[in-house]
Amino acid sequence: MLLLTCPNCGLAVEETELAPGGEAHLKRFGPDSTADQFEEYLFLRDNAKGVHFERWRHAYGCGKWFLAARNTATLEVYGTYSAQTTEPPQHIRDEIARRTDR
C-alpha cells in the first residue's frame, strides 16, 4: 500500500484515500499553439521508469491537490509538495539526488 503525506493537511494517508492524477508539471500552451504542442500537453508522457513527478488529490480527506516525487521502478517515495509549483522544489531534488546516488 502506497503511503503519501498530504502537504496541505499534513496527514500521512494510504492510497485508498487518494485519487491519482497523472504526470505533474505538464505545460499547457496558449492561443496560437501548434497541434504538436497540444498533443504533447494532452497525450504525450515521459512515462519514466524511475523518478516520476505526479499529481494526487486527497480525495477522501481535505480534497486538495498536491504533487509527489516517486520512483516507479522501486516504489520509493521521495516526498510530496505543493501543487502551486511549476517544477520540483529544491528540497525534493536534493532528496532524490541523495537517495539515487548510492
Binding site: 500500500m1 492510497e15 498533443e39 515521459d46 521508469k49 505526479e54
Partner: protein, 414 residues
C-alpha cells in the same frame, strides 16, 4: 521440427519419448537481421511468425529481456472476445478471434482455444443501453454477438445471483464464439513455428540502446552485443516508453500495474467467461478448476510487476454479490503485470518518427485476445509499410483527434 500427431505419439511411446527435441532453438544472436523484433511475448512472436508465413521474411531475430512469454503473455486472464464498438477495433479483434479458431491446426501446437462463450454483464441501465448499441454495431460489422436477458444469463451461468440488490443483472452482451485459450501455449506455439522457419529467438538479451544513422535505424545495442537491422519492431508492452526514449521519441502511453488472482481448484461449475465491468471484475474457470479472476488497474504509473492487497479486496468484494459462492473460496495466487494504456484505450500499431522503427503497443488491459490479429497486421505493416488492419491505429491519431474511443465502450475490464 518434429510434427505432433497421433502417429508421432505412438512412435515416441516406443522409445521413451526421447526424440521430441526442443520446442524452439537456442542460438546466439547473429551480426545482423533484416528485421529485429524486440519482445518475445505473444504479439512479438506472432509478428515474426506472420512476417515469415505471409511475406517470406525469415531473417528475423526476436530479442527478449527475460524469458519467452514471461511478461503479460504469461500474466493475463486468457480471455478472447471481439465485441468492440468501433469498426477498426472490431475488424482487428475479430481477425484475431477468427485466427484463434484454427491456430492449433495451423501451428501444429495445441493452444487449447475454448470458445465457451463470453458474457459481458449489464448491471446498470447505462450498460444496458451501451451493450445493446454494441450488439447492433457488431451485427453491422459481421461480429456474432447478441443481447440476452437476465434469465438467459442465469441459464448460461447458474452459479450467478442475478437478483442484486446492489447490482442486479439486467442482461448481457453475449459472444458465443468468444472464450479462452492457454496463454503460454500461444507463445510457445508461435515460437516453435518461428524457429522452424529459421528465425532466432534470443532470450535474456536486453536492448540497451538503439543505433541510428540520421533519421534511420541501423541496429540495437544489447546485453549480448550490438546487432544490426534494416527494420525494428518494438513490441514490449509496459516498457514501450523506455524503448521509445532510447529511439528519441515519446509515446502517448502510461504504464500501470494490472493484477489478477486464482482460487483453489474446484469442480467444474462455470463454463462461460463472465465480465462485470460495473464492479471491475471478471471471472472464468480454468481447465484445472481454478476460478481465474481479474480486476482493475492501479491508477498510478508503476513498473513493478506486483499487485496490491486493496485491489484484491475491491475486486472480490464486488464479485461476491454476483457470485456468492466465491465467498467460501480460498485464493491461491495473485500476480501483477505492467500494461501500457493509451488515452483512447486502443492500441498503437504504427510507423514512428524514426524511419525503420515500428511500434506495436498500447494494448493496455486487453492484449491477449488480439495476439494473432495484431501479429498479422503488424507483419504486413513491417513488410509493406501499410496494412488495412492497422491503418486506423497510427500514433498520429492523437494529434489529429481521430480517436478509436473504446474507453467508454469497453470500460476498465478490457
Amino acid at each position: 521440427m518434429r510434427r505432433f500427431s497421433a502417429f508421432a505419439i505412438a512412435r515416441e511411446a516406443m522409445r521413451n519419448h526421447e526424440g521430441w527435441g526442443r520446442t524452439w532453438a537456442k542460438r546466439p544472436p547473429a551480426k545482423r537481421y533484416d528485421v529485429i523484433i524486440v519482445g518475445a511475448g505473444g504479439h512479438g512472436l506472432a509478428t515474426a511468425y506472420y512476417l515469415g508465413k505471409n511475406f517470406g521474411i525469415t531473417n528475423v531475430g526476436i530479442l527478449e529481456k527475460g524469458w519467452l512469454g514471461g511478461g503479460n503473455t504469461g500474466r493475463n486472464t486468457t480471455i478472447i472476445r471481439s465485441n468492440y464498438l468501433q469498426d477498426p477495433s472490431a475488424a482487428l479483434y475479430e481477425k484475431a478471434r477468427s485466427l484463434y479458431e484454427t491456430l492449433s491446426q495451423e501451428l501444429n501446437y495445441n493452444v487449447m482455444f475454448s470458445p465457451r462463450g463470453v458474457i459481458m454483464l449489464a448491471q446498470t441501465h447505462h450498460e444496458v443501453r451501451g451493450y445493446k448499441r454494441t450488439a447492433q454495431a457488431n451485427a453491422l460489422q459481421g461480429v456474432a454477438t447478441e443481447w440476452i436477458g437476465p434469465e438467459r444469463v442465469k441459464e448460461l451461468c447458474p452459479i450467478m445471483n442475478i437478483e442484486g440488490p446492489r447490482y442486479p443483472v439486467l442482461g448481457g452482451l453475449y459472444q458465443a464464439r468468444g472464450g479462452t485459450a492457454r496463454h503460454d501455449a500461444v507463445a510457445w506455439g508461435y515460437a516453435r513455428a518461428c524457429t522452424d522457419m529459421g528465425m532466432d529467438i534470443i532470450q535474456r538479451c536486453e536492448v540497451t540502446g538503439i543505433d541510428r544513422d540520421g533519421g534511420r535505424v541501423t541496429g540495437v545495442q544489447t546485453t549480448q552485443g550490438p546487432i544490426g537491422c534494416d527494420k525494428l519492431g518494438i513490441v514490449v508492452a509496459g516498457h514501450s516508453g523506455v524503448l521509445a526514449k532510447m529511439a528519441g521519441f515519446r509515446l502517448p502511453l502510461e504504464s500501470v500495474a494490472l493484477q489478477a488472482l486464482v482460487s483453489e481448484p474446484i469442480k467444474p461449475c462455470m463454463d462461460v467467461v463472465v465480465m462485470a465491468n460495473t464492479v471491475h471484475g471478471y471471472m472464468s474457470q480454468s481447465d484445472k478448476g481454478e476460478m481465474v479472476i481479474g480486476g482493475g488497474t492501479d491508477g498510478y504509473n508503476n513498473y513493478t510487476q506486483r499487485g496490491s492487497f486493496h485491489h484484491i479486496e475491491e475486486t472480490l468484494r464486488a464479485l461476491v454479490e454476483t457470485f456468492p459462492m466465491i465467498s467460501r473460496l480460498k485464493m491461491l495466487r495473485q500476480w501483477g503485470g505492467i500494461v501500457d494504456v493509451t488515452g483512447d484505450r486502443s492500441p498503437i500499431l504504427s510507423k514512428t518518427p524514426v524511419e525503420g522503427i515500428y511500434v506495436n503497443c498500447g494494448w493496455g488491459t486487453g492484449g491477449f485476445k488480439a495476439i494473432p490479429g495484431s501479429g498479422y497486421g503488424m507483419a504486413e505493416l513491417l513488410a509493406k509499410g501499410h496494412s488495412p488492419l492497422t491503418a486506423a491505429f497510427g500514433m498520429e491519431r492523437f494529434r489529429e483527434g481521430r480517436f478509436i474511443d473504446e474507453s467508454v465502450a469497453a470500460g476498465v475490464a478490457h
